[in-house]
Amino acid sequence: MEHTSLLERILRGIALALVVIFFMFPIVWILMMSFQTNETILRIPPQLVFEPTLANYTALITGKLMTAAGTLDIAFMRNLWNSVFLSVTSVAVALLLGVPAAYAFARHKFRGSEDIAFTLLSFRFAPALLVLLPLTLYFQKLGLANTYIGLIWVYQLICLPLILWIVRGYFEDIPADIEYAYRIAGHSWFATFRKIALPLAGPGIAAAGLLAFIFAWNNFVFALVLASADKQPVTVGALAFITSSGIQYGQISAAIVLSITPTLALALYAQRYLVEGLSLGAVKG
């Protein structure tokens, strides 16, 4: 049914090539910079061929930066660890809180259930600083300022709505009859939840968890406002790194590469679920 002329196919090919170049170029370029010394980076015109070096990565991993002025300590590994810890713990907490709630919203239409679900959804769209700025003052009074607990709590703003609405959709897709049948056989609601609903919604829960991890990892403003240097994740740490390390562009590139690799890898692994997750369960891929 398709009648595509040669000219049209060529034009499509060119358009696609341009699209791929535009979206891939920055990642490829930063990756290349991360394997270069400052001398090759500063050369004009920019070099496509160079002798790759691992010095940038070793400097980051050992935490010692050799400069002409002497040795500088860099805490980038600390930032990386903070990112891992904050994201993993936030997602774990969000799953513990969100999955039972998602089940309640999917299976029981109780008074106010929709209002509560939409209130949670609206958090996703409220300006972050509206809540964050007063929260800094409260956190200082409560002793939660610059603590992991405080950050993990605030990270629920990102993780909970996502998990609640995606997992709810998966629970709704399980025919209620399967659960009734199991209940009639004399099992408690908890056994039904654990043995029937959870395994059937398992892939969806895993996908929601991975997505929540990506969004928690990529978050910037929460930690910028609430955390100081020793608790900051990579997104904030990399920004501070630029000003502190001066002109060590290779190390900055290597830091960016290390910071974006986990989310890119997870996204490729979970790409089947991304459409559903990004639309909060409204579009299936």
Binding site: A15, L16, V19, F22, F23, M24, P26, I27, I41, L42, P45, P46, L97, G98, A104, H108, F110, S113, L121, S122, F123, F125, A126, P127, A128, L129, L130, V131, L133, P134, Y138, Q156, L160, G169, D173, W189, W217, N218, N219, F220, V221, V234, T235, V236, A238, L239, Y249, I252, S259, I260, T263, L266, L268, L274, V275, L278, G281, V283, K284, G285
Partner: protein, 307 residues
């Protein structure tokens, strides 16, 4: 034997727990969120106060003064203008580009699927880090984009550090990060459309432009609306890209709502003005999100096969 007789045989505690159970299940999630609602209310109170962190003794209610002063405050109008401009430009460009790319990739083939997965990578890059990547590439000393600009005759093109091109530069980063978002949603929409109308149109020899405007676009509208409103809601609140790239500068070229509120709070320690700015932004997003949720629900029903 029916389910009803079974239930009657159960211990009496069962039925009570059935009514309470959903509340018990959702209570922990709720409690965590109530903690978030308190600062929201606090923001409302702050926005009606004269409150500077540097002069805590002078803190008092001034009622609408923060809001009224906005009318005669050129900085506020600049914030409003740049926020709307940023959101408008990014969303329109991303929608056009995203739709175009989705149509290029519509046919299911190994290459198309591979490209659509590759295009997800910018979207999964933290926006703040994406801004840093572009900052390195547009560095006037060694940035590859500055070099390319000089090749086409733009000597000394300043990108984000010049007031005339700062908006262009952050818009470019926003497009790089978020076009794939619109693309992937519209691609899913395009691929889920029924094939019969298109086959019928092809049989009748209907021109392509007619098929696009009269069949594809109308059928795709719910997806376009959801994707656009989603982006609009995020874009009008953009903070990460702009703050990481220029911190609102040069001067106050890029002081969009959230950046301006952040600077007001932490640099001029003017909590009252900062809160009032956030309340106005919240009112805008509340209005938009109500339209969004209606469309979003319709799509969600469709995806679950109820409509």
């Amino acid at each position: 034997m029916t389910a009803a007789t079974i239930q009657r045989n159960r211990p009496s505690g069962f039925r009570i727990s059935k009514r309470v159970l959903p509340y018990l299940l959702s209570l922990p999630a709720l409690l965590v969120c109530i903690g978030i609602l308190i600062p929201f209310l606090t923001s409302v109170v702050y926005s009606f106060q004269r409150y500077r962190l540097s002069q805590p003794w002078a803190r008092q209610f001034n009622w609408g003064d923060n809001y009224i002063s906005f009318f005669t405050d050129p900085k506020f109008w600049n914030t409003l203008e740049i926020s709307l401009l940023y959101a408008g430009i990014t969303v329109v460009l991303e929608l056009l580009l995203g739709l175009g790319i989705a149509m290029l990739l519509q046919k299911r083939s190994t290459l198309n699927n591979f490209i659509s997965i590759m295009l997800l990578m910018p979207l999964m890059t933290a926006p703040a880090l994406a801004a840093l990547m572009w900052k390195l590439m547009t560095n006037p000393g060694f940035g590859v984009l500055s070099y390319l600009a000089s090749l086409i005759g733009l000597q000394d093109f300043r990108w984000a550090s010049s007031p005339s091109t700062a908006l262009l530069t952050v818009v470019l980063v926003d497009i790089w990060v978020y076009t794939p978002f619109i693309m992937i949603l519209l691609l899913a929409g395009l691929r889920s459309l029924p094939t019969q109308p298109f086959e019928a149109a092809a049989l009748d020899g209907v021109p392509r432009s007619f098929v696009f405007f009269r069949i594809t676009l109308p059928m795709l509208t719910p997806y376009i609306l959801t994707a656009t409103l989603f982006r609009l809601l995020d874009s009008i609140q953009q903070f990460d890209i702009i703050y990481a790239m220029t911190q609102g500068g040069p001067g106050d070229t890029l002081t969009v709502f959230q950046v301006e509120a952040y600077l007001n709070f932490f640099q001029s320690t003017n909590v009252g003005r900062s809160a009032a700015l956030m309340i106005i932004l919240w009112a805008i997003t509340y209005f938009l999100s109500n339209i969004f949720i209606k469309n979003w629900l319709r799509l969600r029903e469709r995806a679950r096969g109820h409509a």
